[in-house]
Symmetry: C2
Subunit: 209 residues, 2 copies
């Protein structure tokens, strides 16, 4: 990568929204889009889009707008989406099953490559065509497959130990559905899917009115 | 509320994490906690916690720490969690069903009060003891029940029209699982559960290394 400035994380978090919007535009048969039009679709100003993209190089031409297909390709490359990502899923309960069966992941380059669970009742069974392996196999399987990313779908009180095992196995990005904040070393990314906290941050505003 | 300063949204989003951490502490039998200890649990500095809480009044005593039960009670009151919230769920597909069956919501004051779907095949059936009603009933049911919050679990291409109907029915907070950005008027809150975008914002960092 020619630029070495690390963009703010908030910018990185917006890039997938740009990519998705461009995918929708492409599907609608739109070939060219202005930063204004793109911005309106995702509630971001045109200036913000131009500023965000400027971290990564030159895109589009003044007064002409962006070539939808080309910008999408470039953003996907920036996001590392020009390849598929093998992901380990830990936790094969109801939530884990729903995650495996969710077609959206695979369609977007996220490939569940291995499933682990600590329950002997689950091990050996299959979900979505993938055999559930015992959690004790995480280090070997993750190493063998070169898996760098994991999804945690275990109860809150088991999530930290699972994260520790994953990090030790060189997983560098974790998406956690467990309602607890995980401790990981620098260089490992953790993000959360936490609908309860999200709702509670909205009841705040409703309660104030 | 005696203070009229609106805290930054980023502070509001942290409050539910404080509350959850305090709930865990309470369950562990911990009566008193320093901002340092509380911070370590959620990867926030002690100074940040003190600053965040200062938006809402005076909590704890210098050198003594916070009374866990009392601070939890106060934060829950600030977040409007001293009452239950009736929520309308729109979309009774796989995702909608999983949401209804998720016990975490109810345990945290989030009560699915009505379920809607546009498919005649679904209407009349029950999920988790709640009858699925046709989406055309949203305005009347939401008004009758005084519902102020909704969860959208419909496909992306239907989410905006559902949001429009909800907003017109005076819903003021929406949690959307649909992978698209919704347009709502000022005064209406929308937050997203969007695991694909979250993962894509991490592949960025992995791809760079």
């Amino acid at each position: 990568m020619s630029r070495t400035i690390t963009p703010p994380d908030v910018v990185v978090r917006r890039l997938p929204l740009y990519a998705r919007s461009l995918r929708y535009l492409l599907r609608e048969g739109v070939n060219s889009v202005s930063s204004q039009e793109l911005g309106e679709r995702i509630n971001v100003t045109a200036a913000q889009i131009r500023k965000d993209l400027s971290y990564f190089g030159e895109f589009g031409k003044q007064g002409i707008g962006y070539d939808v297909e080309r910008l999408l390709e470039q953003i996907e490359q920036i996001l590392g989406l020009d390849r598929a990502w093998a992901v380990a899923l830990v936790g094969a309960g109801h939530l884990g099953e729903a995650i495996v069966r969710y077609e959206g992941f695979r369609a977007q380059g996220i490939h569940i490559a291995a499933i682990f669970d600590a329950s002997p009742d689950k091990v050996g069974h299959s979900v979505g065509g993938i055999e559930i392996q015992h959690s004790t196999s995480i280090p070997t399987v993750v190493a063998q497959r070169g898996i760098e990313m994991a999804i945690i779908a275990v109860p809150a009180d088991r999530a930290q130990e699972v994260a520790d095992v994953l990090v030790k196995a060189n997983v560098r990005a974790i998406l956690s559905y467990a309602p607890t904040v995980l401790q990981v070393p620098d260089g490992v990314w953790v993000r959360y899917i936490d609908p309860i906290s999200v709702i509670h941050s909205m009841t705040f505003y409703l309660a104030r009115d």
